[in-house]
Amino acid sequence: MNKNYFTGVFHDEESLVKAFDRLKEAGIKPEEVYTPYPIHAILDGMGNKTRITHAAFFYGLFAVIGLLSFMYYVSVIDWPLVFGGKPFNAFPSFIVVTIVATILVITLATLFTFSVRAKIFPGKKAEIVHPLATDDKFVMLFSDTIGKEKEEIVVNIIQEHGEVEK
């Protein structure tokens, strides 16, 4: 397996955050950081803001509009039937269906969006950058493409706090 990346492995949160801060001072950001639990400094420092909540909101909005207009079309325009003296457009009773179906639409649509964006699909082989990244170690991932000069700085900083593995 040809690797085009190298990793820094740390044994505790403190050394990871120290190395991370020094790298930030040097203007270098790791491609990815794998930690056993969420660390605020890393979350803030990586600056990866997810936009999936916005996507979910708009899926929900479209679902509500779509479902309500579908039910209106079915029960008022296409096939009007009188149920127990209710008006054709029995709006309050549509809302229950709309709530439930909207939740389903949002759940499935965000799931698929996430899978597409994260390139995850059933039967995909897991990419494990370091055997201990799924264990209790803190792993930083760097691409080889950052260049020789920067690589040297990175290696120097990491070696003070942890180990470099190529």
Binding site: G84, G85, K86, S93, I95, V96
Partner: protein, 386 residues
């Protein structure tokens, strides 16, 4: 972390002024339009009792869930709960207004109305007040015990009081669920003794939780602006907002479910409540309540940015406080006053009760350290961040 809150003299004078306004307007009301004055009295009493009950529920939830973030602010809901004894006395004074408010106290109505006769073993004045005394007694005893543990913890420390409080909180949640539901049925639903709705009590309870969370957040924000609660950060604000957001959705759900089931089943003995309120100002208030108590908080407080900023939270909180008033107004006025009258009497009596509530809460806040000293989750609360 010693923080002492001293009630400012100006504030104290302001509350006295407000109480005087309320007293005068209610007095004039009793002289000229006693029924409307009693309706005001009931509404304002219920408004502030539900704030206290919601605050008590808030404390209990924090203990049962062992929530860390709110530990530093727990003196605020505790102070709000300290209004309960005052409210109990005020509610007992309702004895003199029973005849103006509750149709089922009328002898002549009782004789001709089979349904009222059927309900009279439960809905009669002595039993009504026996229940009131029992409800308020239970609430005051349990919340006073929680308050006592909380204050003693400041001096003695240790986990003992925390575990005791947690146990009392479980009891309190159970008692509140039962008694506040019955209380809502007694005080408000029995204004229309022919009407019944199973979801009514749940809706009123959720409204209490919703509006108590807004007032807790408001008091915390006001105190922070005055220089207290230095540890308050955006994460705390976000958590306060989550409470408001959650309770608002549950209230909206209950309100809708109540209406939708009655609308769908179309049984005359249930629908008349909404039919009576389907014209004029009532119809406007029906939609106004949904917009103010659910739609606006739902949309405005949803994004992360707005839900952790004070300039957005405060207007929503004020709007929700108006929303609680209009919701009670929507239920009480058509049953008692029979006309959408709103004037100086309503404003004056609401200001009076606001003054009384603020005075009691401020006094209670000044009696103990504003931030609990030995609460086991205090560190976590101060460093709260997410």
């Amino acid at each position: 972390m010693e923080e002492k809150f001293v009630v400012p003299q100006k504030f104290r004078l302001l509350t006295y002024g407000l109480i005087a306004i309320g007293g005068i307007s209610l007095l004039l009301g009793f002289l000229f339009d006693s029924q409307r004055a009693w309706a005001n009295y009931l509404l304002n009493n219920f408004y502030f009792v539900s704030l206290s009950i919601g605050a008590a529920f808030f404390i209990a939830i924090q203990y049962v869930a062992q929530a860390g973030w709110s530990a530093a602010f727990k003196r605020v809901p505790e102070a709000m709960v300290s209004y309960l004894p005052v409210a109990g006395v005020l509610f007992l004074l309702l004895f003199f207004g029973m005849h103006s408010l509750y149709h089922w106290t009328h002898e002549d109505a009782l004789q001709t109305d089979a349904l009222l006769q059927h309900k009279s073993p439960y809905l009669n004045t002595p039993f009504f007040f026996a229940r009131l005394i029992f409800f308020f007694g239970a609430w005051i005893l349990l919340t006073a015990a929680l308050r006592k543990f909380s204050v003693r913890e400041d001096f003695e420390g240790g986990l003992n009081y925390f575990y005791k409080s947690e146990w009392y909180s479980r009891v309190l949640i159970f008692v509140l669920a039962l008694t506040f539901s019955l209380f809502a049925v007694d005080a408000i639903m029995s204004l229309e003794p022919h009407w019944f709705s199973t979801l009514f009590a749940g809706k009123i309870f959720m409204a209490a939780v919703l509006h108590a969370s807004t007032v807790i957040a408001l008091i915390v924000i006001i105190l922070h602006n005055r220089g207290h609660f230095e540890m308050l950060n955006h994460s705390h604000l976000h958590d306060f907002t989550r409470y408001i957001f959650m309770a608002s959705i549950v209230w909206g759900y209950f309100n809708f479910a109540e209406f939708m089931l009655i609308w769908y089943a179309n049984l005359p003995e249930e629908t008349f409540f909404f039919v009576d309120r389907w014209h004029g100002a009532w119809k406007f208030l029906f939609f106004f309540n949904i917009v103010v108590n659910w739609a606006i908080p739902f949309v405005v407080l949803m994004p992360r940015m707005t839900s952790r900023s004070k300039p957005v939270m405060v207007p929503v909180i004020i709007l929700l406080m108006i929303g609680q008033y209009t919701e009670l107004y929507y239920i009480i006025w058509p049953a008692t006053v029979h006309a959408a009258k709103f004037g100086w009497l309503e404003i004056g009596s609401f200001l009076g009760f606001t003054g009384l509530f603020s005075l009691v809460v401020a006094n209670a806040l000044s009696k103990a350290s504003l931030v609990p000293k030995n609460h086991p989750y205090l560190e976590e609360s101060v460093a709260h961040h997410f």
